[in-house]
Amino acid sequence: MPLFVRNALIALAITGAIVGTVVYAVDYLNRERVADLQAIEDQLSIDTLSLDTQFSLLANAPCESTASSTDLTGELTDLGNRLAYTENQLGSENAQVVRLKQQYSLLEIRDYLATEELAKECDEKPVTVLYFYSNTPGECPDCDKAGYALSYLRDTYPALRVYSFDYHLSLGALSTLIGIEKIQPSFPAIVINGKASYGFTTLADLEKRFPKSALATSTSKGS
């Protein structure tokens, strides 16, 4: 066998090994990401349950609880960012991504309810934003812009609680929330303190939909 043919065959094997290694590395990193997300979600589940339990134990004086859902909200935000990145890597149809999104959405709803409950019991006025988007191609061309604008508002005004949901995610609790809030399948759908509005044009326009006192630079009482 000529030397160059032998070398070409060896090179082919090496190239195959490199490509195989890269494919494995990509898959490994994605599996690690999913495992990381799972661990965060497990921890958040425990934290949420702990918070619920504290509320129950202090049923007569929930406002005296040293626990706060603020930390949970921060962790939820981080989890949401990671989940969005993973969804971008693996695709929104990926079964693991869908399952993680379901868990994440449940945690968000639970945190939202806890925030609402605290607000009612303790005379606090947090500003909550429910943001419904759609991943169906062509259904929401402005969702990326709306999502980024809400990220900006959340980072700038820590009092804001932003909860984002994939409208079409198959989850009973989410369907119930959509029903209660009467959210139409028009995107992006943004519910600010219970008042729904649709579409996104500019940041300035979005800011007008908030209560006047909501976008103060200082942290609000409810946080």
């Binding site: 030397l3 160059f4 060896i10 090179a11 490509v19 590395a25 812009k145 900006y152 980072d155």
Partner: protein, 420 residues
Amino acid sequence: MNPEALAYPFLFIALFFESFVLVTFLSKPARSARARQAASIEDPSLPTVAIVVPCWNEETTVAGTVESLLALKYPKEKLEIILVDDGSTDGTPAAMARFADNAQVQIVRKENGGKHTAMNAGTALTSAEIVGYLDADSFVEPSALLEVMSGFTSEQVAAVTAAMSVHKPDNLLRHMQNAEYIFGITLRHTLASVNGLYVTPGPFSFFRREIIVALGGFREAHKGEDLEMALRLQRAGYWLENAPRAKVYTKGPPTLRKLLKQRVRWTTGFMRNVGGEYRDLVGNRRYGALGMLVLPLNLTTYVSGTLMFLLALFLLGRRAFAAIEIRSGIPASYAWLPHASALSRTFDWFYLPSSLYILLGVATIIGSLTMIAIGKRVSETPGSLVQGLLAYLIAYGFIAPLWVMRSLADIALGKKRAWR
């Protein structure tokens, strides 16, 4: 389909070629070539050598070129230098006249007829066994000729090429070219070990005079006389060798315009010769590594390089457009400057870019940098390569496709360009 997937076959080919070069580099013939010692100046069997310097308007560089040739370690009685002025219109004749009294130097002036005519005119003036050529903007190390002579290992070896790098690179473009030339040292050294060379470059390539005269001398060959001669020698069944430590330095075009002009000339020369008169070599088993691998892969590289470039531009443009679009209306201090939440993601492994496209691209780049490092080590080229590697990483991927695309356009339109 994900547009990134279009790049996979080309990245696979690039990785395959790099692997082939590295495997061949470790094979016995290449190891033997590296172990070869330079010929001894005391060796009485050293052949007579003539070095032809074809010049056209090289008043600023020709003197340095000739001085470096006169400093070559080689028996003076066996080395002649022939300066051919191809009808220069500047001060080249005066610059050459400085050497008129040197017994080793012959000076000849002719009407302008193109580089190949100057090379043939010089060849016709000598009866030396070996004839070499050196562009008048290049300089050689004193040991280069003895290194080259060690490459004529058998009668079947018709030509020996040298190891080129850029002389004192002084800007980003020249640093980039330096890294590219040193990449070429690895390539030439390894491909020579499987007789896969398809060009005998203008700077310091040597031939058995009788063979190139018998083959009819140099031709215009779409301004690719060095490539055409190599292909003609290959077709005639000869071997082309390489002397990896025969160091020769060239200036390299200083501006993008001049660089593009030079590279379009080289690339169209390759495409027109290989796609025309020498088409039968491509894919021909008779020509071994050259026919089955080197020429087909080179042709593929031109197409794949262009497609990869356009794809990268498309992906980059799409990402940039999306980034600008979603940030429109958001205060610039948040949208475009680092802020806490973005920074926390930058240093988190979770957000490490890890698509197949990116990682295969990184593997290909690592392969290229490895070949550059090997080229520097094998040739013992002096100087730091840090700037060269940086310039290569930053600029080559953007600049090389420009000359390839312009070359493809020239060929499609049948356009021929002047030498300079």
